[in-house]
């Protein structure tokens, strides 16, 4: 069976490693704290019983726009490199 790029990233563990890099970058640049504050405020406004889905729908687009370009660029480049080096090793 031919494996898709996404599957190869999961198999090699690269996806977990890249995800961890992203997580740490978002912590480093303060994104995590910013989003946490937004969520806290929304919970205060809407009451404790707000569901995850409601919270998600209110926070997603704002949270996405807060991700710094440098982080997006770095991740994109690293995913690309990883896929390319997988391709290389498949050829060998």
């Amino acid at each position: 069976m031919k494996t898709a790029p996404h599957q190869r990233l999961v198999m090699a563990g690269d996806r977990d490693v890249l995800k961890e890099l992203l997580r740490r970058r978002l912590v480093e640049c303060g994104w995590r704290d910013q989003v946490k504050i937004i969520c806290k405020e929304l919970i205060k406004e809407n009451g404790q019983d707000i569901t995850y889905d409601t919270l998600l729908s209110m926070v997603t687009s704002r949270a996405r726009s807060l991700v710094p370009d440098s982080v997006k660029k770095e991740l994109l480049q690293k995913i690309k490199n990883q896929l390319m080096s997988q391709e290389e090793s498949l050829k060998m």
């Binding site: 563990g13 961890e20 997580r23 740490r24 995850y52 490199n81 080096s85």
Partner: protein, 502 residues
Amino acid sequence: MSDHGCIHLNNFKAAKGIQPYKVIHSYFVTSTSAEARVRKAVSCLCHTCKTYKDRLHSCLHCIFFGCYVKGHIQEHAKTKKHFLAVDLSYGNILCFQCGDYVYDRELLAVAKSQWSESAKSLSLGEFYRAWEPTQIEAELLRKNPRRRRIVENSTIGLRGLINLGSTCFMNCIVQALIHTPLLRDYFLADRHHCPQPSRCLVCEVSHLFQEFYSGSKAPLTLHKLLHLIWTHARHLAGYEQQDAHEFFIATLDVLHRHCEAAPILVKDNPHHCNCIIDQIFTGGLQSDVVCQACNGVSTTIDPFWDISLDLGPAAGASGSDSSGPPTSLLDCLERFTRAEHLGSSAKIKCSNCQTYQESTKQLTMKQLPIVASFHLKRFEHSSIQDKKISTFISFPEQLDMTPFMSHRRNGNNNSASLDALPKNGEDTAFSDNRYCLFAVINHEGSLETGHYTAFIRQQRDQWFKCDDHLITRAKLKDVLTSEGYLLFYHKQILEYGRNSKM
């Protein structure tokens, strides 16, 4: 959303236990082994629409994967009356009867330990986790209700150090170490656990961090620290003035030896040690010797804690490009990494053509440390006289080390071995090699009557001058126009990856 689940989850647990969650979580959420990752890659697709994304969930009751965004897991829950599902990205439990995610302490503990296992199986130290106080820490916080908010111009972390009779060389090194961001993070997070606290320099430094950040402003005396260094680095014993650079290296060495009774061996680290000192200060220097007859290259890589840079005019510079003395740090580094002709009197046996030949040697940066320490060799010791070179050498606030990297400078990325293939998280094309200045140590005055002071950076961009017990505010301009003896730069972007330093 409470942390003791819901009645539905509790009923499920009473009937089936936590095994179903454990299995799903260890295979499809965290993947705690290579085998699990393969299974996850192959089988984590929505059974209805075949997507691998869109908030994939697994039914907790049976083997069914469904996406949430297009409603396929909801559909399954409704038709089969299987009302509990596990979110496959985060491992949280969704209860369709409650209409929301529910948290359960017991299952959260399972998840936590499986995340650790997964990180280990990937040779990542540990996944990032937000700090949660342990029971002891929570107790301490309750008993000490006073909190301090660090404001922009706070001076917390600054303390003068009493001169114990020409011990300014020690004081300025201590100031530089205390203001090394990653070292501070390590010590303030209480990460050193010690087998022999009474004789341990790391414990003493740990204690010093507590003193620096206690809020008190009175200057400190470093009796114990000095005593510990004297006992463990005997060549430094005595009250006379010492060289700050020598003291710095000796201190790193004692700290490294005390860090762990049994050092963790890590293959990728050139120093074969993963103690906090090596994680922060160790880099790898590549040396390429090229035979002039056959162009055969022999490459070695050695660990370093600092780079010593010559300031005099280049002696025996190869051919036409003999230049005057360096005037900037970049000049020094350019010269340090230039291919140098070893001369006709120093023939070396070439491992390629097996004959004694003239050769060139070039040093380049194979692996950069997190803290780059530069030693400007201002003191010249010779049999005739000792002298100090006081010429001004400019150095930048921000430094990019990219031009001095091995692959850049000489195209030789040690390609003789397979190790040179890009590893995970280490790709030479994208690596960011920018550094930021955070401490400068100066030697003022002459060789005999000199005095050491330090400039240190605190809170990102505030500079202070530390002159023994006196701490005064300084401007960046003062720092950059000072003479400079030891320069400390901190890497701006840290790499995280398998077997990487952090």
